[in-house]
Amino acid sequence: MFEIQGLSKIYAMGEVEVHALRRVDLTLFERDLVVLLGPSGSGKSTLLNILGGLDVATHGTVRYRSQDLTAASEEALTAYRRHHVGFVFQFYNLIPSLTARENVALVTEIVERPMTPEEALGLVNLTPRLDHFPAQLSGGEQQRVAIARAIAKRPSVLLCDEPTGALDLATGVVVLEAIARVNAELGTTTIVITHNASIASMADVVIRLADGQVAETTRNTTKRQPRELEW
């Protein structure tokens, strides 16, 4: 699904250059649940943002199916995000002035053949909380709204940046279950960033990043269910 070759990203932070990614080569396959592991500053978020079309590489190529994302224009990247990618962020990034249903509607209104907001929220078990505003929801519920919002468009790829980073264990498990369910039932290629190694055992593929480079790629022979994870 993704062919990554020689990918580098350099940020200029004032006078210093930060190498967030250094010549990364990777291949990711359809329907896989991938966990990106690594300490903070290892380049996980940068890689995810580039895969999601939120950021552009400094060098190298990223191919999504047959499309070259590194050569795509701003408009093409927007269309790519709009039709193919679902995002889940660490801090949920819900629109505080919209209810759960309306936050999902934000997406369903701009894509073709989406789920209804109710359907999407049903998939993450939030049917009773449809008309609550983000401020009236717990962190885990907010994150599940974010997941519903991400999957309502039936994306080909679901990108989750530290989805449980701001949550406690029990809540985190509920969120991870929602992600695993989407991956299993809808067959959405899913990439989850975490610095929590125990999450790795629910993945098909685990990629360890360190210092902007791929340190290790492993394919799990057996996957665990989120509720079996230990923090």
């Binding site: 940068t46 943002n49 999601g52 939120l54 950021d55 701003e74 408009e75 927007t78 269309a79 995000r81 709009r82 039709h83 990618v85 995002f87 962020f89 801090f91 990034n93 819900l94 629109i95 505080p96 002035s97 919209l98 309306e102 936050n103 509607a105 934000l106 997406v107 209104e109 701009i110 894509v111 919002r149 468009k153």
Partner: protein, 788 residues
């Protein structure tokens, strides 16, 4: 069904409603002005056009001492002429029951059995004059209303030396006297100046004008060139002493009406422009901050696949909704103001119908300019916010980069406390924002200053005209110039303390094709009671045989010092002479021309005559004196300074009072809107920081200093700038309303400046207090937990 994004828009606006309202009100103020001025313009224009058309208002006007009726056929035959009406017109002294002093009447002849072919009258009350009743007249409505006359009432008139009783058969309006002002005066005085229409035969007989006319008006056919007809007409009338015809544009009433219309149009453009500019500024500041707070949401929306264009449109709609709300309130307010203003005009311009007319195009233009202002204000900040890369927007905004401020370096470093340093660095970090706020506050100050300044200008004008230039408290004019000993007769009247003979003569000044009729005043070598001043308070001093003109008159005639003008005397021997312009005087009221008294007498070829006199009287005897003067047939008019000043003040108070009230109200809105917005934006940016300081143990007073101190610094910086803007604006406004009637002295007025500064400071403090209340309720824990 509202889309999710539009719901977000609506709820976001509700959340920032106070700020949105403040901006909407600034826009509303500008739009209200725009609508009020332009709807008045449209209403007056429409009333004028309808009136002129239905009453067949003439295109060319001419008078002549005496021309035979046979000439009418030749005038009618001139190319381009459609219709002709010849008349007898005469100025007479009126003896009005219940009025102490004599009044002036203008008698105009009309057909008895028919309607006038041109300048037809609109019969408001009563009946047309009847055949065979030579004492019946029609009277102008303003005059009738000023005295409460009803059809059938009588008024005395001195006609050709004999007092006659005239019966007012009807009350009428004439398109010729929409602005019924006595020649040479500034303000209509309907109590002392009336226009009366009398049967042609009766009037012609009384003035020995049988078979002749002394006034003619023409209408022109389509495509006729007025100037060409004027030239032809002048040629026909010249042998009979004709002194040049004038086109409609110069007809006094029409000229006044049109100059008022021009003023409305320039005000309608100028003032709203300032308001909308400020609104755009404020909107820009408010929106920039609101969008900074929306950073994470913006990132999420981008990540969800919303295009830049969709997001730009979404955020522009914030501005548009505010602008449209403001425009709607503004249009409603403008209609209300406009109706009030039109009522004011009704007192000065007499139309059969003066209905308020709000054109659809004015409303449409109002909406369009409000939208343009909003887009101009919003676009830059929206564009900047949306252009940010989504991955970058995802991160909380990096801590702002601060440096030790220039002020610290400059001198104060060792003494500045930490809070003051924060204040200084905050200001320095966002110089554009600080500057925009300063400019916004300065604009409010400037508008206030213009308002106060105009009022002060009127005072200055009254002072220079009625106290410095004219030290007499009564002016008497005679029907005809009298011999020198008339001054002694005046001196013997009760209450007269001092008499200064005056020689004023009606002349027509001509330079090339341009001409103006006005009073030429002879000045004694040593200035006496009446001593005309320029607007800098220097006395006017003509030399030798030269003539001194009002600067604006020089402009109109296109002449300057050293050039020649033709002076045509309009009385007595009617001499015509070319005279060198000795100088231009920058005066404030009307258009005037002055010559040295001996030179004027040489021009008139007469000795020691006087056309009137300036008097200093004992005001205790004023009533007695005017009663005595009324009995003197030679006296044509008595102008009491008290009455003139009263009229002038009344007109100014009515006009300026309304304007000033609106001005104050709206400047207040601006000042408050700008300062409140600036304060709210600062509060929103600083709340985390301020809450952190409170957690560290800072008191409320201490953190208030950081926020309100910033506001105070901005306000203090804005005050001098506002004074400067205000001065420019006053100058521009004064120039834009400068007319042949008034030229306000644009005084650099300290009091207006101080009042404006004080008002802005108060508005600033009030908004500071409002924000301070929010500061006191700062939720320490909540603010710190929230991620921006």
């Amino acid at each position: 069904m509202l889309s999710a994004l539009n719901r977000k828009l609506f709820r976001d606006l509700v959340a920032m409603r106070t700020q949105a309202l403040a901006i909407a009100f600034v826009i509303a103020a500008g739009i209200a002005m725009f609508v009020a001025y332009l709807s008045n313009f449209a209403s007056l224009e429409r009333a004028r056009d309808d009136y002129y058309r239905t009453q067949r208002f003439a295109d060319v006007f001419a008078n002549v001492p005496r021309a035979p009726d046979q000439l009418e056929a030749r005038i009618r035959a001139l190319p381009g002429v459609q219709d002709v009406e010849t008349r007898v017109v005469a100025e007479v002294v009126l003896d009005v029951p219940g009025l102490d002093e004599p009044a002036t009447g203008r008698l105009v002849s009309i057909p008895v059995t028919d309607r006038p072919r041109l300048n037809d009258l609109f019969l408001r009350r009563g009946t047309w004059i009847s055949p065979g009743r030579s004492d019946e007249v029609l009277v102008s409505e303003a005059f009738a209303d000023a005295h409460g006359f009803r059809p059938g009432d009588r008024v005395g008139a001195i006609i050709n030396g004999r007092r006659r009783d005239l019966v007012m058969a009807g009350v009428v309006l004439s398109p010729e006297y929409v602005y019924g002002i006595k020649p040479g005066e500034l303000v209509p005085d309907p109590k002392r100046y009336g226009i009366l229409w009398m049967g042609h035969e009766a009037l012609a007989t009384a003035f020995e004008m049988d078979g002749a006319f002394n006034d003619v008006v023409l209408s022109l056919g389509q495509g006729a060139v007025p100037e060409a007809v004027v030239a032809d007409l002048d040629r026909l009338l010249a042998p009979y002493g004709g002194r040049g015809a004038m086109v409609r544009a110069l007809q006094p009433s029409n000229w006044m009406l049109n100059s008022e219309l021009g003023q409305l149009q320039s005000f309608g453009f100028f003032i709203p422009l300032i308001f909308l500019l400020v609104a755009a500024f404020v909107l820009n500041i408010a929106l920039t901050r609101a969008l900074a707070l929306q950073r994470p949401q913006l990132a999420a929306l981008k990540a969800l696949g919303y295009t830049n264009r969709e997001l730009v449109w979404h955020y522009l709609k914030w501005g548009l909704v505010i602008a449209l709300a403001g425009a709607i309130v503004g249009v409603a307010g403008g209609v209300w103001m406009g109706t009030a203003m039109l009522g004011m005009y009704q007192d000065y311009f007499t139309f059969p119908v003066l209905a308020y007319h709000l054109g659809g195009s004015v409303v449409l233009q109002a909406l369009v300019i409000a939208v343009i202002a909003a887009l101009a204000g919003a676009y830059a900040s929206v564009r900047r916010a949306v252009a940010i890369a989504p991955a970058e927007a995802m991160q909380p905004e990096a801590p702002a980069r601060y440096r030790p401020s220039a002020i610290e370096h400059a001198l104060l470093a060792p003494w500045l406390g930490v809070t003051s340093r924060m204040l200084a660095r905050n200001l320095q970090r966002q110089p554009i924002r600080a500057l925009t706020t300063i400019v916004g506050i300065a604009m409010a100050g400037a508008i206030l200053q213009v308002g106060f300044g105009m009022a002060r200008s009127v005072e200055a004008l009254i002072h220079s005209e009625f106290e410095v230039a004219e030290r007499q408290n009564m002016t008497v004019t005679f029907v005809e110039p009298l011999a020198a000993d008339a001054r002694y007769a005046l001196a013997r009247l009760p209450g007269v303390l001092q008499v200064e003979p005056q020689r004023v003569v009606a002349v027509r000044l001509r330079a090339g094709h341009v001409q103006r009729t006005l009073a030429l005043t002879g000045l004694p070598a040593i200035p006496g009671l009446k001593r005309p001043m320029d607007r800098h308070g220097r006395p006017v001093q003509p030399h030798g045989d030269g003539i001194v003109l009002s600067a604006i008159l020089g402009n109109v005639l296109g002449v300057g010092p050293g050039d020649e003008v033709t002076v045509e005397v309009l009385e007595g021997r009617q001499s015509v002479r070319r005279v060198i312009v000795d100088g231009l005087v920058d005066d404030v009221l009307g258009t005037s021309a002055y010559m040295e008294l001996p030179a004027l007498r040489r021009l008139l070829r007469e000795s020691d005559t006087l056309s009137g006199a300036a008097l200093v009287i004992d005001t205790a005897h004023e009533a007695e004196l005017t009663a005595a003067l009324k009995q003197v047939p030679a006296v044509a008019g008595v102008a009491s300074k008290r009455v003139m000043l009263g009229n002038f003040r009344q007109m100014m108070d009515e006009n300026m009072g309304v304007m000033l009230t609106f001005n104050l109200l709206f400047a207040g809105i601006i000042a408050f809107g700008v300062v409140y917005n600036a304060a709210r934006v600062s509060l929103s940016e600083r709340s985390r920081e301020l809450a952190s300081l409170r957690v560290l143990g800072f008191t409320r007073a201490e953190i208030s200093v950081i926020l309100l101190g910033e506001l105070a610094v901005l306000t203090v910086c804005a005050l001098p700038l506002g004074a400067l803007f205000g001065h420019w604006l006053t100058t521009m406004l004064v120039e834009s309303i400068e007319s042949e009637m008034f030229r306000f002295p644009a005084v650099f007025d300290l009091q207006a400046m101080a009042t404006a500064a004080l008002t802005v400071t108060v508005a600033s403090m009030l908004s500071g207090l409002l924000v301070r209340r929010r500061l006191d309720r700062l939720d320490l824990v909540g603010v710190l937990k929230l991620r921006e």
